[in-house]
């Protein structure tokens, strides 16, 4: 909430688009702005009406450099936009830096995402320190097509204007906290010496030399990957990482998705009864990849590019002690780390037994 709690006296607000950016078709700008206002009207009694003449509550303009409001823009990147808190005159107005490349997609700064953030300021919100919140100050490469207003932002705007009068009370995604002992990871991979823990739209990146893991949006590294990854593994021989969701999988080298992906998991040889992969891990010693599905697992020969015969086998038979569904798994220093529910099992590949039981977030410095 902006200090002093500035709010609009009424909930029927008007907005006017004063000019356009050359980066986008005007209709796309109109749509992005309208969609950005809807983010807030969906969760409050607020209504936004566009007007074309005369002063409106929220005036929207594309400006560059010093544009006369004592808050000059700074050229490409850096400062993207700003908005004034509710009030008369310039209050509520929103300015976008037209030295940026604006886009309706992700090839440039997505106008919808930035506008939704700025209108939060126009309504009286300040910045949030929740890295998953819309009102977090730094630009996030969230997916504009699957955007849902996070719960942190819903709580804040409803604190100012109350909940929507609609029957359905929308809720939003929350940001995982690093030492939440109940966290269940969707997938975990090693990557060139780092370890990455995936959950929902995010992943924690743990570098061996840094004490603290760093939270990132999946989209900020791999914009074409879906969120909600279900399994993933690194093949160090090919320097590739493979991500699985449903019956599709993506192969990436570094940040780039390789040509021709996503592919179907049935091209790897899985039967149609397999609807999704729970977890996967590459075993360097044998150059095999294990795929875990339910209470069974398959072995895939990365050399011959085929599933091995005599599979699937029971997980509990070959990995004694791993009796529940495997959510994620990775290999390090001759051990397999199985993540099953809220438990992590350190399994020795050589002695074929569980050596330690740990908390899921033990690698994150908790």
């Amino acid at each position: 909430i902006t200090p002093g709690r500035p709010v609009w006296d009424n909930t029927d607000l008007t907005y006017r688009i004063l000019n356009y950016t050359p980066d986008m078709a005007q209709a796309d700008v109109d749509r992005a702005i309208e969609k950005a206002f809807k983010v807030w009207s969906d969760v409050t009694p607020l209504k936004f009406t566009r007007i074309y003449d005369g002063p409106s509550d929220i005036e929207i303009a594309f400006e560059t450099g010093d544009h006369g409001d004592n808050s000059p823009f700074d050229g490409p990147d850096g400062l993207l936009a700003h908005a004034f808190q509710p009030g008369k005159g310039i209050g509520g107005d929103t300015h976008f830096d037209d030295d940026e490349k604006w886009s309706k997609g992700t090839n440039g700064y997505n106008l919808f995402l930035v506008a939704a953030h700025e209108f939060g300021h126009s309504l009286g919100l300040s910045h949030s320190d929740d890295p998953g919140a819309l009102m977090f100050p730094n630009y996030s490469n969230d997916d504009p097509n699957t955007f849902h207003l996070p719960q942190d932002d819903i709580n804040a705007i409803q604190d100012l204007y109350g909940p929507t009068t609609n029957a359905v009370k929308p809720t939003g995604p929350t940001t995982p906290t690093i030492c939440d002992s109940k966290i269940i990871f969707d997938a975990i991979i090693t990557l060139r010496g780092e370890i990455m823990f995936f959950t929902d739209r995010f992943f924690w990146r743990k570098h061996p030399q840094t004490p603290q893991a760093e939270l990132n949006f999946i989209k900020s590294f791999w914009s074409s990957l879906p969120t909600g990854i279900e399994a993933a593994y690194e093949n160090p021989e090919t320097d590739q990482i493979l991500f699985f969701k449903g019956s599709k999988y993506w192969a990436l080298s570094g940040y780039e998705v390789l040509y021709g992906y996503p592919k179907s998991i049935y091209q790897l040889g899985f039967p149609k009864t397999v609807k999704k992969i729970d977890a996967a891990v590459y075993i360097e010693e044998t150059q095999k990849t294990y795929f875990f599905v339910g209470d069974k697992y398959w072995s895939y020969d990365e050399e011959r590019k085929v599933l091995d015969k005599d599979f699937p086998r029971e997980i509990a038979e070959d990995f004694p002690g791993i009796t529940q569904k495997v959510h994620a798994v990775f290999q390090k220093n001759g051990f397999l780390y199985f993540f099953s529910g809220q438990r992590q099992y350190e399994f020795s590949i050589t002695s074929k037994k569980v050596m330690r039981l740990m908390k899921n977030n033990s690698w994150l410095g908790c």
């Binding site: 808050s71 993207l80 004034f84 004490p211």
Partner: protein, 84 residues
Amino acid sequence: FPAVTEANIMERNMQLAETYLKRYYDLETDGKHFMRRTSSSPFSEKIRQMQEFFGLKVTGKLDSETVRVMQQPRCGVPDVASYS
């Protein structure tokens, strides 16, 4: 090309940090640079505030992680007071 020395990088990061802290954390400088060096200087105090907000290790020092966050594109904070 002339090698970009460590000192150049440090100076460049200091410039970046000073611009960032002035713009988003109301850092006031009277143009002197020596004030940045002491750990209790306004500069270090503002660095701490920024590190706290972004969940970074709070050191008051301009480390690489802090510089990385400062380099990320972000929303501005318009100067309402002086405008009005």
